[in-house]
Symmetry: C2
Subunit: 238 residues, 2 copies
């Protein structure tokens, strides 16, 4: 690249980074508010989360467009190309995270007049905080190009999986205890699944950060998901 | 583009189309086998679905790489550019569909020694067939550049949502009837959610086909998801 192209390319990259930062902030708010809506059974807040998804979707399209135009115009190579591909991948994950937070908000609306088990809600809140913390850390590692921190987040996703496993089992026991809990708990199971999957996307982003910085992909992530796999028996009796 | 570039570009596009066709066939097999594994409680088949996911992931990366290289080399415009972006988007959806089929297979493994309610399994099978049919039709519309057929599939996703809503309610009643059904049914609820989400991705692909052919995006899809939204009360009593 000539010096002129380099400067133009840097400006393009900066524009992409700004949009990703905006998407990140939106996602963080979406997650925070969907969990808060769940804890407080706040329907208006849940509605707000659902409405805000449009902006997340629009940003993803804008990033895709800008990335493609940049590739066509500047024909970047090596790390420059990885930066653009990385931005594309991360915007995809951020869009999916927005979807998942929206799903939680939709479940909250279905819970409006249901029986409430605070213990499970508290567990969900814990899981939400953990996942949000991971997402914020991995996005910071992206901003700083810090592959080591990304790798740390990538490793810690096991904690979310383990929390989700406990929550699954605990929720089943409430369902067995009293059939009146069943509908409510079924929705909470979906909430937990959505939150856990936000963690999966944080992990994807960690992989992308390593790819951008180091140019290679990570091995398959160890997975402790799925609430029972690995020979541990599931609760069965009432 | 010169005639030479045009021919080179066509060859690139053809290469992308071949890879997408391979991914499509893999996804179809994954869905078919995960449902079959569920119906027959066939653990070996479920294991096969889980193992086959690696190839789907690899293809998605190959398509991404090839698409990016093509954009940088040929700098396509208008419909040509949309073709490439479309291939990128569709490969993302196909990768997610592979994930969802894998999730169903993982749930099947968790069901191995559980009580079985054939009625719910049959409903799941119906839903699986419906979604698979939609996916195959939308992929055919992609191959043919047929926006009208894509739009038809896009509209029909409401049927999947409605089937999922019935299945959700039906499954809850089995849980209420007998606590011994609860663990099994909780896994079936996740299976249903995964299958329904395959339908969502078929819908995304329909949108991409319209974007490639006509250059514009579709409005927000009507959504009847979420098993209770819209004032219909959920089952509550045992």
């Amino acid at each position: 690249m000539t010096e002129h192209t380099t400067r133009a390319f840097d400006a393009d990259l900066h524009g992409l980074a700004l949009k990703i930062a905006e998407m990140s902030r939106l996602d963080e708010t979406q997650i925070r508010q969907s969990i808060e809506a769940l804890v407080k059974r706040d329907m208006a807040l849940a509605d707000g989360v659902i409405a805000a998804k449009d902006r997340v979707d629009a940003l993803q399209r804008e990033i895709e467009e800008k990335a493609i135009v940049t590739i066509a115009r500047r024909q970047p190579m090596a790390v420059d190309l990885r930066e653009i591909i990385g931005a594309l991948r991360i915007s995809n994950d951020l869009e999916k995270i927005g979807d998942l937070a929206e799903n939680v908000a939709k479940e909250v609306i279905l819970l409006s007049d249901a029986f409430v088990i605070d213990e499970v809600i508290l567990q969900l809140q814990r899981m939400g905080r953990l996942v949000l913390g991971q997402l914020m850390r991995v996005l910071r590692s992206y901003e700083r190009g810090d592959a080591a921190e990304a790798l740390e987040v990538w490793r810690e996703d096991l904690e979310v999986d383990s929390l989700n496993n406990s929550l699954f089992r605990e929720t089943l026991t409430y369902m067995m205890e009293n059939p009146r809990n069943i509908t409510f708990c079924a929705h909470l199971l979906f909430c937990a699944k959505n939150i856990e999957r936000i963690g999966d996307h944080a992990t994807n982003i960690a992989e992308t950060v390593c790819y951008i910085v180091e140019g290679h992909t990570l091995p398959e992530r160890p997975k402790a998901d799925l609430t029972g796999v690995g020979g541990r028996p599931l609760p069965r009796e009432a």
